[in-house]
């Protein structure tokens, strides 16, 4: 073989080039498909402003419901501050979800796990391990420069923690309908939603850092609260990817379930017999 510098070692060059024979491309393709499906569905569902509650169930995309959607009298009992404000600017879609989704949206967008997933799947940097990156010839600056904003992930975290409590509240009230305790498939769907989002949120790297990881002497020989909390957060952190996917899919399922109930497409199996 002619001596040529790029042939040293025989490594393939260029985007997607690799000697790997396994299906390394499955993961980025699945990531792209699920993420796009999520973004399309969430945007659509958030802009509807209708069919977001049924009986004691409230769609997680619309929680906390600060104001019920315009003209939605039945939604008022889920609402914190009553009816839709008259001062709402007409160029912003009049849907309660647009007030809320920016918070979990920015939390997930800057999440260390999701960053890994979309850097690989959407920007090909790298598309797989030991696989040639997209734009490999262009200067690479990693998470410096334009991506410095990712460092603000920790500021999105308190809102996400708050949301876990709010979604847990929604799950609890889903067992009450007009003063009667009961249970329906919807109550279980919303309970699972709160659990999965909680499990995702408490595995956050920034959370794990701020509650204890930032100090070197977490226990100093004693069973401190700090060390205990860090240990527990570490358990969730090890499973952060799994909970990221499960909670992402389940929150869509929960919205869809409430939506279909409200639209009358399906009926809820419950002890209230309604």
């Amino acid at each position: 073989m002619a001596p040529h510098p790029s042939a040293i070692g025989g490594h393939a060059q260029g985007f997607g080039a690799t000697e790997r024979k396994d299906g390394w491309w499955v993961e980025p393709i699945v990531t792209v498909v699920v993420f796009l499906a999520f973004v399309v569905y969430t945007t659509w569902a958030a802009l509807q402003g209708t069919h977001y509650h049924w009986g004691p169930y409230l769609s997680p995309f619309y929680s906390p419901l600060l104001f019920a959607a315009p003209g939605d009298a039945a939604g008022l009992h889920h609402s914190w501050f009553g009816a839709w404000p008259s001062w709402w600017p007409s160029f912003v879609p009049a849907s309660p979800a647009v007030l809320i989704l920016i918070f979990p949206g920015s939390f997930r967008f800057t999440c260390y796990y999701y960053r890994k997933a979309y850097y690989r799947a959407f920007t090909g940097s790298p598309p797989g391990c030991a696989v040639g990156p997209l734009a490999g010839r262009r200067p690479y600056r990693g998470e410096t420069f334009l991506l410095l904003f990712q460092n603000l992930h920790r500021y999105t975290m308190p809102f996400a923690v708050l949301l876990v409590f709010i979604l847990s509240y929604d799950a609890v009230v889903s067992y009450w309908w007009d003063g009667r305790v009961g249970v329906g498939v919807g109550s279980i769907v919303l309970t699972l939603n709160a659990i999965l989002i909680g499990a995702y949120t408490f595995g956050c790297h920034s959370f794990r850092h701020l509650i204890g990881g930032r100090t070197d002497c977490m226990s100093c020989g004693k069973a401190t609260l700090k060390y205990g909390a860090w240990k527990r957060a570490s358990w969730f952190n090890e499973r952060h990817m799994e909970f990221a996917w499960l909670s992402l899919v389940w929150v869509m399922v929960a919205d869809l379930y409430v939506r279909l109930l409200s639209m009358g497409v399906i009926t809820d199996l419950n002890t209230w017999g309604r």
Partner: protein
């Protein structure tokens, strides 16, 4: 049961080279390193490869097997289909010396750049005290066998000229920095250097280092991301910075 397998091995040196094909008998229980030794003994006496312990503990036998950075002594032949041609290459990130042997000395140079352990003064009774819970984190990083598979797979070093331009120290040395930084006895401050000299911002946490580490060290989650969070504390978190200004 013995079978005949096909190996495609890259042979050459810094001036060039190419793949050479070998048909070789493989017995039950063999690992890739055993097969390479048999090829060396029977068909290519001058095949250059590095090895030492045959037990996944010395980190010498790093190479790329079917495109994946691996230890040859820990890659079992029964993990491949019998009909599969097995491609063996030297590490991509480091300069080839001969055949499967690369010059990894760039790594030793990086190690020397890292400010050493600086313990706080001893307790009045002359002892150093620290607690197991607090050093568990650091001990995970001490499992490193310096095989440099993580350095090889990291796209910043592999495909982005991070090694040639010295913009990034690589995952192995970020966990060494983390193990010093998180050490309860250590007093040195390496955080500004982690960002400015060692390039923590170049890592985009895509976790290939973690995927290839034969010691299963959680390089990204337990080492690099916590370091990045400490860098944020110092340089990018306005509230933390303000609090430090006020309370010192």
């Amino acid at each position: 049961m013995a079978t005949t397998r096909t190996f495609r091995i890259w042979r050459g040196d810094a001036r060039g080279g190419g793949f050479e094909q070998f048909e070789i008998q493989v017995d039950e229980g063999m690992v890739v390193l055993d097969v390479l030794h048999r090829i060396q003994a029977q068909q290519a006496n001058d095949l250059a490869l590095r090895w030492n312990c045959k037990a996944g503990k010395c980190g010498s036998c790093s190479m790329e097997i079917n495109g994946k950075p691996k230890l040859a002594c820990m890659t079992r032949m029964n993990s491949f289909a019998e009909s599969e041609t097995i491609t063996v290459q030297p590490l991509k990130t480091f300069p080839v010396m001969k055949d499967l042997v690369t010059d990894v000395s760039w790594n030793y140079a990086q190690n020397k750049r890292i400010p050493k352990f600086q313990p706080r003064p001893r307790d009045p009774d002359g002892a150093y005290r620290m607690y197991q819970e607090d050093v568990d984190r650091v001990q995970e990083f001490r499992k490193c066998i310096e095989c440099y598979l993580c350095q090889d797979v990291c796209h910043v070093l592999r495909d982005r000229h991070g090694r040639e331009q010295n913009t990034f120290v690589g995952p192995r040395f970020l966990i060494r920095l983390a193990s010093l930084e998180m050490h309860p006895l250590d007093t040195a401050d390496r955080i500004p250097a982690v960002r400015d000299e060692f390039g923590s911002g170049m890592c985009n946490i895509t976790k290939c280092c973690t995927e290839v580490c034969p010691e299963h060290i959680h390089i990204t989650d337990n080492g690099i991301i916590p370091l990045k969070e400490r860098v944020v504390d110092r340089f990018y978190d306005p509230i933390a910075m303000l609090m430090r200004k006020i309370f010192g």
